[in-house]
Symmetry: C2
Subunit: 207 residues, 2 copies
DNA sequence: GTCTATAGCTGGATAGAC
DNA sequence: GTCTATCCAGCTATAGAC
């Protein structure tokens, strides 16, 4: 109750920042991720460009706030409790969530997973949540006996490839989404075959 | 020898267009695909922007010429004779070529396979070569007993996912490239298992 | 902190002399 | 066909009044 004045002032400031970020999401939904302009953003937020510069140092600073928010959403989305304790069911549920997350908001997907904006690099703090979310995926993979770097890399390539084809070549459809279950089968069959000889594989990496 | 005047005039014109496109490739190699500007392009081509407009109707028209050239290169690259007649070896060679083609020129890859430029759609003529190249891949897959749409889609997702992860997360390295052989094994094992029951799968598509 | 106004720049595209 | 010169729109970012 009796926090110092600086605290609620900070809270107000965060609320204003959040409102601008909210308007920014609406803007990129309409104009595309790269089409974000500060003029349009200011108009949507019911303010002006100089005011925005009181809250964000630059346009990329806004992208960074959006990235951090998206990464947090991604982490929460994947970390929600899994209904089944069966490892394979959990992996399938993870893919379903990954698809649902990516296809439900394409600018968000582009910002998080593609490198489409010229000068933008997410700050370490914003990047942290994305890394944590990937760690959750690694856990689910580990419950399925998949632990090696090569296998995890193959898994990420497979899932992102499916999502990317879906978004690029059949937006709004299910042409690649429907292959998710088949993909899990294919991947796990292969992982089981190769994990027994993982040490020899590792030795073969640099001949 | 005695062609009508309109013919060599047309030839000169094509040569000038080719020179501009050549300069455009150099520009995107330096500035990024989306960073192409007509001022810079004109400077590189040793001319001025109005002259460029004598040869191309718009900036997207230049992108289209680049797309058509890249698609032709892609088709030629994949269609070169395959050293081995063994189906699996041909498929592996196809992946190797796909990786080599994509990673050796990233702006070209982005132009051909990603939808990164706002208002640009390739013209049907430019798109044709890309379609032909994909048909070649389907042939190699068919020689491996892979014919169904679902399986072909899974293959494209897998290979593009690998390339995309390689370019995005380990540019210049081999972290995902080295997984190509494993991926072929994984895919073919799975394809063999499912192709025998393809009719039942097809029936299950719309329950 | 919020505004008006504008600087300063870069973009695509053109008019018109030669 | 090639140039100079320029238009006009858009952008990010800031100065300065209130």
């Amino acid at each position: 109750m009796s926090y110092p004045a600086a605290d609620w002032r900070e809270t107000r400031r965060e609320a204003a920042r959040a409102a601008i970020v909210e308007a920014a999401w609406a803007a990129v939904e309409d104009e595309g991720l790269a089409g974000l302009s500060l003029r349009d953003l200011a108009k949507r937020a019911g303010t002006t460009t100089p005011t925005i510069y009181k809250y964000f140092a630059s346009k990329n600073d806004i992208y960074d706030a959006m990235f951090g928010q998206a990464a947090a959403e991604f982490e929460a989305f994947l970390a929600a409790p899994y209904p089944s304790e069966q490892p394979r069911a959990a992996l399938e549920e993870g893919v379903r969530r990954f698809f649902a997350f990516c296809t439900s908001d394409i600018p968000r997907y582009q910002l998080l997973f593609q490198r489409t904006i010229p000068g933008f690099e997410p700050s370490p703090e914003s990047f942290a949540a994305a890394v944590r979310a990937l760690a959750g995926t690694r856990q689910v993979l580990a419950r399925n006996g998949v632990t090696g770097t090569r296998q995890v890399d193959l898994w990420t390539a497979l899932t992102t490839g499916l999502v990317d084809q879906q978004i690029s070549n059949d937006p709004g459809g299910r042409r690649w989404t429907r292959l998710a279950e088949d993909s899990v089968t294919m991947f796990l069959d292969h992982a089981r075959k190769t994990s027994s000889s993982s040490s020899s594989r590792r030795r073969r990496q640099r001949p």
